[in-house]
Symmetry: D2
Subunit: 333 residues, 4 copies
């Protein structure tokens, strides 16, 4: 049940109701003038209580905090150098892995030149086999932080378990949770206890509802700075593309939730020559931003070389992406 | 094996080789200066033969006629009022089913107003259950033909089996083969014996290779007027969209084949309010055209009401689609 | 709506109701004392009518004729030498393609020795590419018929379009409709007009409901001699098996429908060394029969060699399959 | 590369080679007379080295330690009261969640009566939404341990992150890693550093190779006590079953790896009345064991009630399962 209080909120009644629900016992979550009561469909309000209430919504999805019913306005995530959500379009770029201090700095300059305000790069790499390069660890984070700072960029990077959280707090602006960890509930709970913005990737077998419920683990911990990333799902056809880019997820999610929706064409297709058309398609689908992999020498990249854009291709692509966004901004409907 | 002859082609040598291969026996297909020999990887050419040959390609896909190796240039399909393929962007629109003479005429006017040069509409409907409306049959075809003729439009319509071919020859400009019939090989062979352009839809479980091999059934019969339609595949997530729109298939197919690639956002998503963003995404992916369903009273449509665009939404959408295409045409790369 | 009349049926009332429903107009189907009225949820029966009625079921699936609600007892299909359905377990075996008169006779003897009462074999082959062997056609059917007749076996064979129906009537006991034609509605309607038993295979992307609705196309034409074949569905994992054998479909279908459920381990896995364990699993799942591919020289089979069992393996497997079935028959629950 | 040394192993040469490979540098893993050298395809052995070597296998899968090439014999996991792997068939049963001290004891007795030697039960529950019951935590583990000890059973229970490992070491005999954590590489590495047997469940989108590579994370840490659980994958058809039970994975995995393969029909289907037929099918597929959920009052179970077997059904089912296994043991081939 979601209770929308009249404004200004009658805080005394709100607190009394909170206590009543807690005694049933039911879990209660409050943001501004909205109160969500988990697993409660009916309640007999007193006349006084009713007079303080604007509306009671009884049919709510399980991901109540993430739903538009609970929070109709777009969530805007503010970082030192970027804003994510609403009508802004945010570019995030960088190499798959942080490879060296020098390399990440060079890639950061390319990323920045293409309009990216966030630098991506992995220091902890979730690799399919244990014998692949697993990332530079904390040193990689430090390199990336320095590269970003020099150019006035923000950092987005993946962490793989809750022990990484303190390190993330030190070095990154956005914590990324990878597709394979979408339902690593311990990790979701851990980042939910921080206020660091979280970019949650859709899992390979994650339904739209699964993704929103996973985000709810973060939100229910008190961290509402969440963005969701569509990066392709696993289907029967993976000969020419690594995954199937589910772009309809963008408008679907925008209808259901207030969190910014970001697209990741690099992981969706896994082949560099398909990234640009899918970046255009992702922009046209209405996404609030994009995250792409770039590398100046893909053949020798430590990971994901096949899907990394060379600087030239990236610069052309971003020019077109921003042109598409500009055109779309001119539409009144 | 594909043999590319020097131009002008030495027809005597070409004919001699054809005979030799036929005697092995191997199937031989010739278009212009390209000869495909099925299931042959090696052949000892005489010096004289070699001198007439430009290049021999031995690693060829099973869909040899459809491959860019055999036919590098884009196939352009010419209809009385439309051209499909290459750099053109062709709009096709109309109701799911032909419902009445009057209705199809009204819908044709809307379609035309939005820039469509082809009128779509079903007279034979492949419905999941036998108790649903199965289409008006030949009468429906006649209504659609008249509606199109009045407005100078071409007709695209689905047929469901080989007995429909003569009727199609009479009434339609493009024969559509639906997703559920993508591997109805008897039907593919039947339309392959005509010269009527064929729009082949990707099946719900059709891989890219399956689609190209299905098209090869048509081409090997002698009909090379083929376009391919991406209309969504079946995946694990179908709560909010009927299918998963696989837009990466557009650039993938464009790399592999010379046939025009068309997108069908209506069937891909199955919900009208998702059609416009997916139409934009489809355009941005680089497709050569689009087919969409429209209806002035979706709630009472004979079929597929939920995914049909009302005229207003359709007109706004097409305006935006053509603006996107125009912007993309201005890009040099 | 399903109306179950009291027995003995008051035919006058039944006929009167039929007329009333036809005038609404609603489609009516009657078998024994059950009447299905399509798309009707409510009707005000007179007292006299009510007195002739045992029960009215208003929530019915779209595949009403195929449902257990309409026909609670198992459908038993009677062939000259076999019975399919109920507690019987029927073995069907043979080569993928009929290759020659001599070969099909040799294979029939092997099939028979392993307990098969139906001989399978393809004369019309639905192949992914047009350049693969397409079958011997009518000659193949004749060879198969003769081979079966000599050994007192029944014949099951695939037809690919409605023009094959008269030929099928002449040569086969069971018409098979392949996975790729599961929703070839023209073909389904055509076989629905005959009384020849039909074995309908589940499509690669066919849901349980799709399969039952496809069967309804046959039943609504008047042919109730239907069996359904689970042969694997298309999923993301096809490296080691061609398809994913969905054995839970067996008990699911048995709950929903009265038609016999048959399993096809050969096509499900596509690799001969996995066929036996999957045949055991299929038997243990409770299927009413099995169809398998055998070949004495798989490496030179005209089609599907990789999944064909050699005679020895087949004979061991069938011995075990019948032992499993015998054990299961001894269970009281 | 896998180097199989002659027996008795010439340890001096083995150590010298180990040093040489480490200097390249290449990762080296040794068990008995097998040495795996990661990412090395060719090496020029001296004559002396060659004389100590039996065979060098250069084409190896990425999951080298798990492969039959490296370790041809079945892995047998020995627990205080159970043995898992080889020709044994091991039953594991219990409620989805540990609900109370009294309840888990009652369920343990039922499990034991049905032939289970391992008691299953969850104290940490990976639930789709944060508002569902999350498990009793350490208290639950203690209850389960006591219940098992009283009956001479072993305990298998899921942990969700690396912080749970010390607790698991205290209370459980087998650590289960759930489907959603199959690629939680931090957790895999953590359990790889222990010697506690690990039951790794296949993820919803996990291919056979993904599963084996995930197991390799555990093995490469030094823990070779691994079993793999097939529990259904996510596909397009989930109306009647929660997942698609991929039983062909059993013989496929048995061919590729030496780890025991266990089936979990409860999670595969998600509906109690389908569990028994799928348990029979799983047994017939050749699995080395089974894990099932039981509950005496499914309607009020804290989790997964719909798929839990009542005691009666469970006891009948296990009787049949062991009868099937006994029959199969009598087969010579």
């Amino acid at each position: 049940m979601i209770i929308q209080f009249k404004k200004p909120v009658n805080n005394q009644i709100l607190e009394e109701l909170k206590t009543k629900f807690a005694q049933i016992p039911k879990q209660v979550l409050v943001i501004d003038n909205h109160m969500a009561v988990i697993d409660l469909d009916h309640f007999d309000f007193s006349d006084q209580e009713s007079s303080a209430i604007d509306e009671v919504i009884t049919k709510t999805p399980t991901y109540v905090l993430g739903s538009r019913l609970f929070h109709p306005e777009d969530t805007i995530i503010k970082l030192p150098h970027s804003e994510i959500g609403g009508n802004t379009f945010t570019m995030m770029a960088g190499p798959c892995s942080v490879e060296s201090e020098e390399h990440i700095k060079r890639m950061a300059m390319v990323a920045r030149e293409g309009g990216a305000t966030l630098l991506r790069g992995g220091a902890f790499k979730p690799r399919t086999t244990p014998y692949s390069f697993q990332g530079l660890g904390e040193e990689g984070l430090r390199f990336m932080r320095e590269a970003a700072d020099e150019l006035g960029m923000d950092v987005i990077t993946e962490i793989m378990d809750e022990t990484h959280v303190p390190m993330a707090a030190k070095y990154t602006d956005v914590i990324q949770i990878g597709a394979r960890n979408m339902q690593n509930f311990s990790l979701l709970k851990a980042v939910g206890k921080t206020q660091i913005p979280v970019a949650l990737k859709r899992g390979l077998a994650g339904t739209i509802d699964d993704l929103l419920n996973a985000a709810e683990y973060i939100a229910s911990g008190g961290n509402h700075n969440i963005m969701l990333i569509e990066r392709g799902i696993r289907t029967f056809d993976n000969k020419y593309t690594r995954n199937t880019f589910d772009l309809a997820a963008v408008p679907v999610l925008q209808k259901l939730t207030h969190y910014p929706i970001i697209v990741d064409p690099s992981h969706a297709v896994g082949a560099w020559d398909l990234v640009a058309p899918m970046a255009y398609a992702g922009t046209a689908s209405g996404a609030s931003g994009m995250i792409v992999e770039i590398h100046d020498d893909p053949a020798h990249a430590f990971s994901d070389g096949a899907q990394s854009l060379k600087p030239d291709t990236y610069l052309t692509m971003t020019k077109h992406v921003f042109a598409l966004k500009q055109l779309m901004d001119s539409w009144e409907d």
